[in-house]
Symmetry: C2
Subunit: 486 residues, 2 copies
């Protein structure tokens, strides 16, 4: 039973969603007290699984009446503590709202509930020769609802964009329980403000997404995959700029540094040379003749920029191996040390080389281990720190290093997060990017749409700026902070 919510309140929740869809045991609360972000944990008071939009609305109205926080959660793969119930309250699960409602081949749209697994959606539409491009690394377990709340990116972002670029319309339950529908099966709609884009990436802080109409593309008919190995980081980064400047937009243009390659090879044993300084993964899709031509031109650019070796996959299996090398980077790194902290700094793509150098020198300065990989074509890097949260002294150095990385990213015209979101983790840094004025605008919108701050509180906006909040792993103390018995 819950230690926080009253029996009566739990009873009211059960009346809405049914007995079996409210969990308040300690074991359940513990299971939903964290997400994929290291070092953040806080107990929710109950876990509730609504079966439809009406129930979501009723839950929100009930929570609103007692000012109980609501945290929507997909599969909890969030890397910025965006789905940690920082102030306790209700975790909303979408395990019952996980249907693909309609595929519309004439309008190239698919309408889904938030609980659909990303990869399942991708596979489903591909059966109809259609294509849903956003492919976050977590896509085998992440949900579309989570992707929408976080505006997830992926390996195909350079050419195809991110989740927001594929959301045509949403059904959202607001903090007052109102059900709002935005957009539709419409390529164009300027009827008022772009609420669709506002909700995408708002991390559940403005409303709860209960349905989405997504844009599809015709599936590219052909694809090629290539790896290029470099003895110099600068040459790899230079290649990225040169490819774009040569007017080719590859589907994928990914980067891994030496430290990452070594760990990935140890994990996958696919024969990557571990003595190179950097590797690029390049993919192009489209009509066969165009792909062949552009891959050839990209190979030339790689070689002209001193790639030691370029490997073109000759079979689908080989291509899958090369892609896997990049996709498993985080998992491979995560095996190395007790704690892995993956960051998300993003710069204009022309600044990739400079940024990678800065990350290196910052890591050296603070004596921490940082491996860097990421979406080079987007300028979206994932400096990943291998550490141990139990070592307080080291953790302080890690914090300092990441603060310097964010600062460097902003100095280069970049941002503190390219695709993971702000969550609780990066909230203290948001002002660095937006200034007081930008924060004020966002806070005004938050206050207007969620005046009592029950929608995923503690995310996006920090209590204080410029210093990362240090949260302990002590679940007992962290959960009850802002929640009172009702």
């Amino acid at each position: 039973m819950s230690n926080i919510l009253s029996e009566k309140f739990i009873g009211l929740l059960k009346e809405i969603v049914g007995e079996e869809n409210v969990q308040a045991s300690t074991v359940h609360r513990l299971a939903y007290s964290y997400d994929a972000t290291a070092q953040y944990q806080s107990l929710p008071d109950a876990i509730v699984s609504p079966r439809n939009t009406k129930e979501v609305s009723e839950i929100i109205r009930l929570c609103q009446s007692k000012k109980i926080p609501i945290v929507p959660r997909g599969s909890g793969t969030n890397l910025a503590a965006g789905t940690v119930p920082s102030s306790g309250g209700i975790v909303l699960l979408f395990k019952h709202m996980n249907k693909i409602i309609e595929l519309d081949e004439e309008n190239l749209t698919v309408t889904v509930q938030p609980g659909v697994i990303t990869k399942d959606l991708i596979d489903y539409v591909e059966k109809f020769d259609l294509f849903y491009p956003p492919d976050p690394s977590s896509m085998k377990i992440s949900t579309i609802g989570g992707n929408i709340n976080e505006n997830s990116g992926g390996l195909r972002g350079l050419k195809y964009g991110v989740t927001r670029d594929y959301v045509y319309g949403l059904e959202v339950v607001m903090a007052n329980g109102d059900i709002v529908k935005t957009g539709g099966k419409l390529a164009k709609d300027v009827a008022g403000y772009d609420l669709t884009s506002l909700f995408v990436g708002s991390e559940g802080t403005l409303g709860i997404v209960t349905e989405a109409t997504l844009k599809l593309l015709p599936k590219p008919t052909y694809k090629e995959t290539m790896l290029a190995f470099y003895d110099s980081l600068e040459h790899a980064a230079e290649t990225v700029s040169k490819i774009i400047a040569s007017k080719i937009i590859p589907a994928t243009l990914e980067f891994m540094d030496q430290a990452t390659i070594e760990v990935v090879e140890e994990y996958t044993k696919i024969g990557l040379p571990t003595d190179v300084e950097a590797v690029l993964l390049l993919e192009q899709d489209g009509p066969e003749e165009v792909v062949r031509d552009e891959m050839k031109r990209m190979e030339q650019v790689c070689k002209a920029n001193h790639a030691r070796k370029v490997t073109l996959a000759s079979t689908q299996e080989e291509a899958e191996d090369l892609r896997t090398a990049r996709r498993v980077a985080l998992s491979a790194l995560a095996r190395k040390t007790p704690t892995t902290i993956l960051e998300d700094a993003t710069v204009p793509r022309s600044k990739i080389a400079e940024m990678v150098r800065k990350i290196r020198s910052i890591a050296e300065k603070h004596n921490v281990t940082i491996c860097t990989f990421g979406h080079a074509g987007d300028g979206n890097l994932h400096p990943t720190c291998l550490t141990d949260a139990r070592n307080k002294e080291e953790m302080e150095r890690v914090e300092e290093a990441f603060a310097e990385i964010f600062s460097a990213s902003i100095d280069l015209g970049g941002t503190i997060t390219g695709e993971h979101g702000v969550g609780e983790m990066k909230a203290p840094y948001l002002e660095w990017k937006l200034g007081k004025e930008g924060i004020h605008v966002m806070k005004s919108i938050k206050d207007a749409l969620d005046p009592t701050h029950i929608m995923n509180p503690g995310k996006v906006f920090a209590k204080s700026s410029k210093k990362r909040v240090v949260v302990t792993n002590d679940t007992n103390s962290s959960s009850t902070k802002n929640t009172t018995r009702v």
Copy 2:
């Protein structure tokens, strides 16, 4: 001199922008009392041309102190009365803020001031083999600032999207004078809410855009243009659906009905058959072999769907002629009668045939002349009424007909405006699309960011819903309504 603003206030404006950049004579006020929308006119009190962002901020602070409305204006090509100074106040012109600041070939971005003419920008970047896709029909005179405020579409929208899809970052002056910067030269940025998308299409009601960083693409290397003529409207509409269903996304897929073709031929004399029921303009761009293949496949789809004739342009000049036929539609129609009212209803593209039929029967029912053309691939139709505003009885029938058209559009899963915006003209209908709940969300945002409602007041939100506001052509009575001497 102004009849409304005090000498002192005008003096303060002149102190900010210089004597020569404040106009308050009757002739100047008249010149900026209307835009391209028939039947809407209202006198501003002064026209002010700031030279930089700081001056814009100072003007807003000054206006805020006396609650004077501010209406930003590009070239006034707006078709929804979005740039009519409905409540008087200041019209802001961007004739001094019209520079292309920086083209960045490595990051594929261009940074511009709002006063840049759309076509000038397109031509400029094409010199570098780069491509800015949004191409509203007004592009020869419209400005980028206007395009951003309205989220303008164009003929290339089907494949390439609309203005919002090309805005990476904005500098915006808020209603309190704060200068906010959103985004950057960044393909990916999830640092907080998507303010960039919120400002795009907000019609100057949330802030004044003073600078924009736009996304560019490599310029397609090859393009082909084709017209297909139909004896049956249904067959033309069916072709649109079948082309998309055959997994081709053409760059352009435009539609004109018989009434439009007749007027366009009379105007252009390029030899269009005037006895057909419908014509489609189809274009594809990209690598030559792909374009040739897809044009051939589209030709087959046209013929399989009973096109009477398909004409492929064999030279650039011929292609330009075919495109021109569609681009001049509005100008050609505007010559026919004293008043032309062009609308913007949009439906899912699979509903095009049904919508065109509904428009026809609504026109017949109310005995008004409506020609229909538009972006068939986007489901974005422009039913255009040829009428005479002096005929009050006819105008009432026109109003009734358009109300039914909006209603039909929404019934088919569509929207009241695909690319022209809500402005003052369509504000009464917005609730039909959004419901009370959706309007409430948008109004909450408006109130949060512009609590005193000085930013382009009277736009987007109607005083009452469901009935189009009838505005007289009497400039003397309309201008002074909500403005008091300060």
